[in-house]
Symmetry: C2
Subunit: 299 residues, 2 copies
C-alpha cells in the first residue's frame, strides 16, 4: 500500500509547472537543474505517466501534468499555510475549553483582565459541556465540572460544587417562600448537570425522595438556561453560587436560604494531561486562573 507519491518530488514538480522550466525551478529551490530533472523523473516513474514533454532547450507540461498540478497544488499550499501559521503563533497562544455556564457566568468577566495583563497572548476559548479528549482535540487546558477523578489528568480543584436555591425576587414574594419546606409548592428547575434537588430537599426541608417527585419540576439540560428560567420567574433553581454572582448583584435573582447550601461531590476542576509539559503561556494562564479562583474562594 504505497499510497504516497514521493512527496519531495512534488515541490520540484509544482515549481516546474509554475515556471515552465526546470532551470528556473532549480534556481527557486536552490538546487541544480539536474536535481529537478531527476525529481520529476522519479515522480513520473511513480505515477507511470509523463508529466512534461521534453523538447530541446525546453520542457512543456503535458495535459496529465497540468491536471495533476491542479489537483495537488491546493494541497501543497495548504501544507505551507498551515505550517506557517502553526510556526508563527503557538508559543503565544493558549487554547482552553470550559463548560458554557462557567464560561458565561464566571470566566467571561475575568478574561479581559488576563488579556490586559498578558497582552501578547492569544486566547482561544471553547465552551462545551461534554468532556473533551486531550488526545483528540487541540486543547492545552480545560475547566471541567466533574468528580475530579481521572488518572490521566492533572487536576486542581477550582471550586467545590455547591447547590444553593435561587429564584426571581418576584417569584419568592408571589409564592410566599419563607422556609425550605415552602418549596413543595414551587416549581423546581432541574438542571441535568446539577440535579441535586432530592438531596437538598432531603437535607434542609425534610422531604423524602418519594415526595420530591410530587413537586412540579421542569427539566432543563443547560445550566445557564435553567438560571435564565429562574430569572424569568419560572421557578426555583439549584445552582452554584459562582454562577449567580452577577445576577444576584443586579437584583435579578435572590438567594433563598443562604444557610442552606449543599456541598456536592462534584466541582470545577482545572485539568490538563499528565506528563504534558505546559508551554510557557499555558503555565501563565493556569497560574493566573488559579489565583483568580483563590481570590473568590476566600470570600
Amino acid at each position: 500500500m504505497a499510497a504516497y507519491p514521493p512527496l519531495n518530488s512534488l515541490r520540484a514538480f509544482e515549481a516546474s509547472i509554475r515556471l515552465n522550466s526546470f532551470s528556473l525551478a532549480a534556481e527557486e529551490l536552490n538546487v541544480t537543474p539536474g536535481a529537478v530533472g531527476q525529481q520529476i523523473k522519479k515522480l513520473e516513474d511513480w505515477l507511470g505517466m509523463e508529466l512534461f514533454t521534453r523538447s530541446v532547450r525546453q520542457v512543456r507540461p503535458t495535459a496529465d501534468g497540468l491536471d495533476y498540478a491542479a489537483r495537488i497544488g491546493p494541497a501543497l499550499r495548504q501544507i505551507v499555510d498551515a505550517s506557517q501559521q502553526v510556526r508563527g503563533r503557538s508559543d503565544r497562544s493558549v487554547r482552553v475549553v470550559m463548560p458554557p455556564s462557567f464560561a458565561a457566568k464566571w470566566f467571561s468577566r475575568r478574561m479581559a483582565r488576563f488579556l490586559i495583563d498578558y497582552p501578547t497572548t492569544s486566547l482561544h476559548v471553547g465552551s462545551q459541556s461534554q468532556m473533551i479528549d486531550f488526545n483528540r482535540d487541540p486543547v492545552d487546558i480545560a475547566v471541567r465540572y466533574f468528580d475530579g477523578c481521572d488518572d490521566s489528568l492533572e487536576t486542581v480543584l477550582l471550586y467545590r460544587g455547591r447547590a444553593a436555591a435561587y429564584c426571581a425576587p418576584s417569584y419568592r414574594d408571589h409564592m410566599g417562600v419563607a422556609k425550605p419546606s415552602d418549596l413543595v409548592r414551587a416549581t423546581l428547575l432541574n438542571d441535568i448537570l446539577h440535579a441535586w434537588w432530592p438531596e437538598w430537599l432531603g437535607a434542609y426541608a425534610g422531604v423524602s425522595a418519594a415526595d420530591v417527585s410530587t413537586i412540579t419540576q421542569i427539566e432543563i439540560d443547560q445550566t445557564s438556561m435553567a438560571i435564565e428560567a429562574a430569572i424569568h420567574g419560572q421557578g426555583v433553581v439549584l445552582a452554584n453560587p459562582l454562577l449567580t454572582e452577577e445576577d444576584i448583584a443586579e437584583g435579578k435573582l435572590v438567594h433563598l436560604f443562604p444557610e442552606q447550601v449543599l456541598t456536592v461531590p462534584f466541582g470545577y476542576y482545572l485539568v490538563h494531561p499528565k506528563n504534558r509539559a505546559l508551554r510557557g503561556q499555558v503555565k501563565l494562564f493556569r497560574d493566573w486562573l488559579l489565583a483568580e479562583a483563590q481570590e473568590l474562594a476566600s470570600d
Copy 2:
C-alpha cells in the same frame, strides 16, 4: 524562503497521530520505530514546537500536534487521492475541447460511436469557444475554429469554413425568398463568430457593404443560438453546412441557395501542441476523428 516543512516527515507524523504510537506508525510505514522518532523530531525542530510529549513507553500528542495534524491531514489525503486517480485513469482517458456549436451539432452524434469502438476509453469533452491554452489547461487535443495559423500547434484541417444561408421553411415561404437579393427584406441573424453576411451578400446578391447595414440584423454571440433562432423563424442565418445537417434532415431548416456557399478563410482544425507525444488513446481518438471528418467531407 524555506516555506515547506520536511514533507516526508509529514507521513510519519500523520500516522503517529492517527495511531497514537511511534511503533505502530513504524509498522505501518515498514520502517523501524527509531526512524519514525527521528522524522518526528525533524519536523518538531523545523516547526519549533513539540508535537508529542514523551513519557515512558508512550507518546501523546500535544495540543499543537493535534492542531497541526488537523490542518495538514486533509491536504495529505488530497495528495493521495489525486495521485491515485491520476495514476489510475490517465492512459485510458482523452481530454478534448471544442467549440460548443461543433460539440452540439457535429460531435455529439458521433461520440457514442467512438465509445462503442473503444469501450475502455474515458472521454472528457469540454466545450468552449475561447481558445484554450495547452500550457495552462489539462487538455490533450482540441477542435478549434480559426485560421489555422499557430506555430506552436500541430494543426489538421477537419472542415473548411463555409457560409450557407438557412432559415425555417415557413419563414422562406412567408417572406417569399426566392433569390439571394430577396434577402434585403429579410432579417439577418448575425453570429459574431461567423459574421460573413457582407461577403456573402456582396458575392451572391450584389449588395454593397454600405447597403448591408440597411438590412435588419440581429447579433447573436453563440452559433447554436443563431441557428436555433432561424429554426424558430426569426430570420436567415449564415452557418456552416456541418452544423445544420440534422436540422435540415428533420425539416426544421431549409438551405436557401445550395449553389451560393461562401468559402471563408477559417476552418475547423484539429489541434494539439507540437512536440507533445500523444498518448496511445489520444492518438486513437485523433485518427478516429479525422476518419469521421473525412467521411463527411467526401460527400
